[in-house]
């Protein structure tokens, strides 16, 4: 570890004590005031924090109760624009429809994408459709490379709006997979942390401003929903 030459041994000891949280409240405040304008001193503290952190390795991870995350999310995000009213109510209905159309989706999507399927690849498909067929998008996901091909069969985004694709696992908050391309066909790459979730999830499409939801959660109406199925 290199350190600023203009800092004395005493400062290094103080930095260590600060990193260990051993200073008295008053000494801690005094030291923090110095830290503000002294990058060299901050570097000494950072070096100590880095040096000491492996001590925490012996602490076993313990899963906190799920209610903690729910409370945290409420605390941080509840006052901000929530998903459009009735989102979940509609979703329940859509879910049922999605399940009903499952078999048809498999056949359809398999047919549609069959020419692109190399044998032996783990492939999943979904038909993401509105009940009145005003919007229907077929999706084919290759688990091997995380590429999700989408093909818009009917419908399109409203003028000046975009269609955003969401991944929904159980009762979890929808996670964005990205805005659908303007053209009829295109592809999205699923983030690596989401890939393991694809096999047991629902895809949904919502109406959003250009560029997608500004909040990270769906803000417009849910237009279409479909279950992901293995082929």
């Amino acid at each position: 570890m290199s350190e600023a030459p203009d800092h004395s041994h005493d400062d290094d000891v103080l930095a260590a004590e600060y990193a260990m949280h051993l200073l008295s409240p008053q000494d801690r405040r005094t030291f923090e005031a110095r830290l503000k304008d002294d990058p060299g001193l901050r570097a000494l503290v950072a070096a100590w924090q880095e040096r000491l952190a492996p001590l925490a390795d012996e602490v076993p991870p313990i899963a906190p109760p799920p209610a903690v995350k729910a409370a945290l999310m409420d605390r941080l995000f509840k006052e901000e624009p929530a998903p459009a009213p009735g989102w979940w109510g509609r979703l329940a209905l859509w879910r049922a429809l999605a399940l009903a159309s499952m078999a048809a989706a498999v056949v359809l999507a398999a047919l549609l994408f069959v020419q692109q399927s190399a044998p032996g690849q783990p492939v999943m498909v979904a038909e993401v459709a509105a009940a009145d067929d005003s919007l229907r998008v077929l999706a084919r996901y290759n688990a091997k490379d995380g590429v999700l091909q989408v093909s818009r069969v009917t419908g399109k985004a409203a003028a000046g709006r975009a269609l955003e694709l969401w991944l929904i696992v159980g009762q979890e908050t929808p996670v964005s997979l990205g805005v659908l391309p303007a053209g009829k066909r295109g592809q999205l790459t699923v983030a690596s942390n989401l890939r393991p979730l694809m096999s047991d999830a629902i895809l949904a499409i919502s109406d959003e401003p250009p560029g997608g939801s500004p909040t990270g959660a769906p803000t417009g109406a849910v237009l279409a929903v479909g279950q992901i199925n293995s082929v």
């Binding site: 290094d12 260590a16 952190a53 602490v59 991870p61 313990i62 899963a63 906190p64 605390r75």
Partner: protein, 179 residues
Amino acid sequence: MDTGIIEKMIANVGLGDRSAFSSLYDATSAKLFGVALRVLNDRADAEDVLQEVFVKIWHNADRYAANGLSPMTWLITIARNTAIDRLRARKAPSEGEEAVVSLPDPGPTPEAAAVAASERARLDGCLQELGDDQAGAVRGAYLDGETYQSLAELYDVPLNTMRTWLRRSLMKLKECLSR
């Protein structure tokens, strides 16, 4: 846990990405809860602290890149400091509380475990050089949030002796780790 992935998540959280925040929580909350629980030895307090920790993470992630810390060090430092602040703020030290029940450890990825294991092995070696009591005092201060005062009582030495002892141990540790 893969350092690169955590770093990317923190960067995205800094941009206000809520789904990245949710993923970061899922990836690191068990470790940080473990750290808080070790300091506080009280589930309700540790749950409160964990929330506070992630509120801090949400608000400070955009400045993470400037502090030069590796991602897990940054997260653990926040968790530990928040837990120790809570510990010190308690009116009376908690005693006779029920032992905390631990859930099985999901464990780090093999690569991360290998890196962590080598850092850990180096630290363990250096702690051993300090001697049992000295190493115990360093651990107690870091993991349990002990103060000079409480350590002096624990090891039955005068306060100033403990202060000198621990300072010297820390500087020895640094010297050993830089070899």
